[in-house]
């Protein structure tokens, strides 16, 4: 009897074990975590639905079209052409998520623009299609003449909502164009929107203009001009058009770079017989020599800390990228992958440095991870030069050859799809991406 009780107790416990295991298994199943360490290689499918319009619209591109182009240019988005859309809603209540899901879209931007008394007013909403959730709903306005600024602003908002990174579509580009005609060459320093539109010539010269550099407040440009017949460094106030020659030493005056506070410029001078890097206090014009080596040291650029800087030196036999963590620190060589690495431009995060990289007689844009030392070649074209990183670190602009002419190309900073800026006449080179002005 006791045995029987024990047995039945045993059976009961077995039953309980079996039943418990039914509930325990899922619990252990929960421990089997699915870990996603990589995302899609492709750009994010996004639909910028043409905004509904009311009132007189300005000439040129429509606001939604500008936004679509911006997102496309970033390399991170793959906007759906409007002609493929099943419907053109202009407000959230008209968005049928099923349609957009069918089209494989992840985000949908809808909006309406109205012109009231010369002011453009845009109401826009960004939706996450899969979650059927509104991420952004806002209204922005601008003078009719600034419709592109309005579009860039909305682009920035959309970009930041999706990526978590501040948009850089409202920033500016500075570059130099070269037009050759019967009388010779005309160099023009120009400033445009990041999409290459609204370009305005700031300086025109028969002599070369090189190395434009934005002041931290984006109100000034420093550059090298040969207008006097020899290279000199100028600081040009954009709004007023006032310019000042700050460095006109014997020999080489080149490659200006602004300090974080905008009070100093790094530059390469050969006044002492050899090309060395100096810091000039713009207020006092005092110089501090930061490098001292028999080889050429040039092309300085402050790092993200504002204390150290990168530069190019051929002290190892060929041009290579070096870094000084501070003005007094010993230079550290960064690049080793090939015989030619020059023109360093650090990203804003301090994680990467971008530069021109020669491989198999071709010049590419490459970057090196400063933590790991890993080098990644970002471009496939053959004559790439003058890389400049967008202030949010997400885009990279550089000059390259296309059909015998030099053009500017924008790529994602991690090497995504390339977007060529519409070239104005002739060669375009020496691009410089402005900082974000807050």
């Amino acid at each position: 009897m006791k045995n029987r009780v024990n047995r039945s107790a045993g059976r009961l416990s077995l039953l309980m074990f079996v039943m418990a295991s039914l509930f325990v298994v899922p619990a252990t199943g929960n421990e089997l975590l699915i870990r996603i360490t990589e995302g899609a290689d492709s750009a994010i499918p996004v639909s910028v639905v043409p905004f509904a319009e009311s009132g007189q619209m300005p000439e040129g591109d429509k606001v939604s079209r500008i936004i679509q182009n911006n997102l496309q240019m970033s390399g991170e988005f793959a906007p759906l052409p409007p002609e493929q859309m099943l419907s053109l809603p202009s407000k959230g209540s008209d968005v049928y998520f099923r349609d957009w899901r069918l089209l494989g879209q992840r985000y949908v931007l809808v909006g309406q623009v109205s012109n009231s008394g010369g002011t453009l007013r845009a109401q826009y909403e960004l939706y996450d299609v899969s979650q059927e959730k509104r991420l952004v709903g806002a209204t922005a306005s601008a003078p009719v003449s600034a419709s592109r600024s309005l579009a860039h602003h909305i682009s920035d908002r959309v970009y930041e909502a999706i990526t978590g990174v501040e948009g850089a579509f409202s920033t500016k580009l500075a570059y130099v164009t070269l037009e050759r005609n019967a009388d010779g060459a005309i160099y023009r320093l120009q400033v445009s929107d990041v999409d290459g539109k609204r370009a305005r010539v700031r300086l025109e010269s028969d002599e070369p203009i090189l190395s434009p550099a934005w002041s931290p407040d984006a109100k000034k440009l420093a550059y090298v001009s040969f207008e006097t017949g020899k290279p000199a460094v100028y600081v040009h106030e954009l709004e007023s058009g006032n310019r000042e020659r700050v460095a006109d030493f014997p020999g080489l005056n080149s490659a200006p770079a602004w300090s974080e506070d905008g009070r100093s410029l790094l530059m390469t001078l050969s006044k002492d017989g050899n090309a060395e890097i100096y810091r000039m206090n713009l207020a006092t014009r005092d110089l501090s020599r930061l490098t001292n080596h028999w080889s050429i040291d040039t092309e300085p650029s402050y790092d993200h800390t504002g204390r150290g800087f990168f530069f190019t030196s051929d002290r190892s036999g060929g041009p290579q990228i070096y870094h000084k963590a501070s003005e007094e620190a010993e230079p550290r060589r960064i690049t080793f992958g090939s015989r030619y690495n020059a023109r360093p431009r650090p990203g804003p995060s301090g994680r990467y440095v971008y530069y021109v990289h020669q491989r198999d007689r071709a010049f590419h844009i490459a970057r090196t991870n400063l933590e790991s030392g890993a080098e990644t070649v970002l471009t496939r074209s053959e004559s790439d030069e003058s890389p400049s990183v967008s202030p949010n670190g997400r885009m990279l602009i550089y000059a390259t050859k296309s059909g015998g002419e030099s053009v500017l190309t924008v790529i994602a900073a991690d090497g995504g799809a390339a977007y060529s800026l519409p070239a104005s006449r002739g060669d375009v080179r020496e691009p410089a991406w402005s900082p974000i002005v807050r």
Binding site: R7, E38, E76, S130, Q131, G164
Partner: protein, 343 residues
């Protein structure tokens, strides 16, 4: 038995053949012949008058009373005629009787005379006869006494013998009864013994059966226990195998789900390898998403949102058809989004 033999010897001479009986019989015979011879001496001239019978009738039988049939009611005329007939017949009868009486009176007077004579002679004869008879009787009495004595002795012996026989018989019967009783007793005892033994046998049989059945039950229980153990072992092995199968099956579908999520996840520009968002996914058995919640966020809204968006963008999760595997691994599970190769 002994008496019996004696008895057989006596019976060889029956009692009527004894001398006493023969003597008595002869005396009687002589007397009868003498009497018959005396009556034959009576003169034939004196025939027996018919009055003798009449006298006997008158004396012996009274006039019978008329029969009255109380039941029948006969015809009156016939009754009257019959009554007249009867009257006449009675008158004739009365006449015939008077004549007969007169003749009888005469006959009686003659007869009385004859009878007186005869009586005298008869009395003398009777006296002689009585003498002879007395002598014979004495002889007979003597013989009879002897015979009676003999008979008594024989009867006594017979009685004795019968008594003995009875006693013997009674004894035999008693013995027989005793034997019978003893026999019955023995039989009863034997029967009781048999019954007792039978009962004992049955009891033992029952005990044996009980024991056997208990043993059988024990054996059966042991067998059941073994079987249960075996079953448990097999079930455990099967469960293990099933779990292994489910695990490998789940591994396969986890791979498929991972693939799907890798194609639907767009790590945002802000993503770094340090960012990690874990979602809790709840699926319907069809693979459709029932719900998704952020278990632990990255602190970056866009990153968390990209994970949520990726998880919800999978229209139908690849899940095993096997319900158990589904329940075990895919009804609810966590997904971690962590871009290892991000900046």
């Amino acid at each position: 038995m002994i008496g019996h033999e004696r008895d057989i010897g006596d019976r060889t001479q029956p009692p009527w053949k004894s001398p006493v009986a023969l003597s008595v019989f002869l005396h009687g015979l002589i007397l009868v012949v003498a009497l018959a011879g005396w009556s034959w001496t009576t003169p034939i001239s004196d025939p027996v008058p018919p009055s003798i019978s009449a006298r006997l009738v008158t004396q012996a039988e009274p006039e019978p009373s008329p029969v009255v049939d109380v039941i029948d009611e006969p015809d009156r005329d016939q009754e009257r005629q019959e009554a007249e007939e009867e009257q006449r017949r009675q008158a004739q009868e009365a006449e015939r009787r008077r004549q007969e009486q007169e003749r009888a009176e005469e006959a009686r007077r003659i007869q009385q005379q004859k009878e007186q004579e005869q009586q005298r002679q008869a009395e003398a004869e009777q006296e002689r006869e009585r003498e002879r008879k007395r002598e014979a009787e004495q002889q007979a009495a003597k013989q009879k006494a002897e015979a009676e004595a003999k008979e008594r002795a024989r009867q006594q012996a017979e009685e004795e013998r019968r008594r003995e026989e009875a006693a013997r018989k009674a004894e035999a019967e008693r013995l027989e009864a005793e034997q019978e009783r003893q026999k019955q007793e023995a039989e009863r005892q034997a029967r009781e013994e048999r019954e007792r033994q039978e009962a004992e046998r049955k009891r033992k049989e029952r005990e044996r059966q009980l024991k056997e059945s208990q043993l059988e039950a024990l054996a059966q229980e042991a067998e059941q226990e073994r079987e249960a153990e075996e079953r448990r072992r097999k079930e455990a092995a099967a469960a293990k195998a099933r779990q292994a199968r489910m695990l490998s099956e789940s591994e396969k579908y986890r791979g498929l789900i991972r693939q799907r999520l890798m194609s639907t996840w767009y790590p945002p520009a802000s993503a770094t390898s340090q960012m990690s968002t874990t979602l809790q996914i709840t699926l319907l058995p069809t693979g459709e998403l029932a719900s998704v919640t952020v278990v632990s966020g990255s602190g970056n809204t866009a990153f968390d949102n990209s994970a949520l968006s990726a998880a919800t963008a999978v229209g139908r999760y690849p899940v095993p058809d096997d319900q158990q595997t589904f329940d075990a691994y895919f009804r609810q599970f966590p997904i971690e989004f962590n871009p290892e190769n991000a900046q």
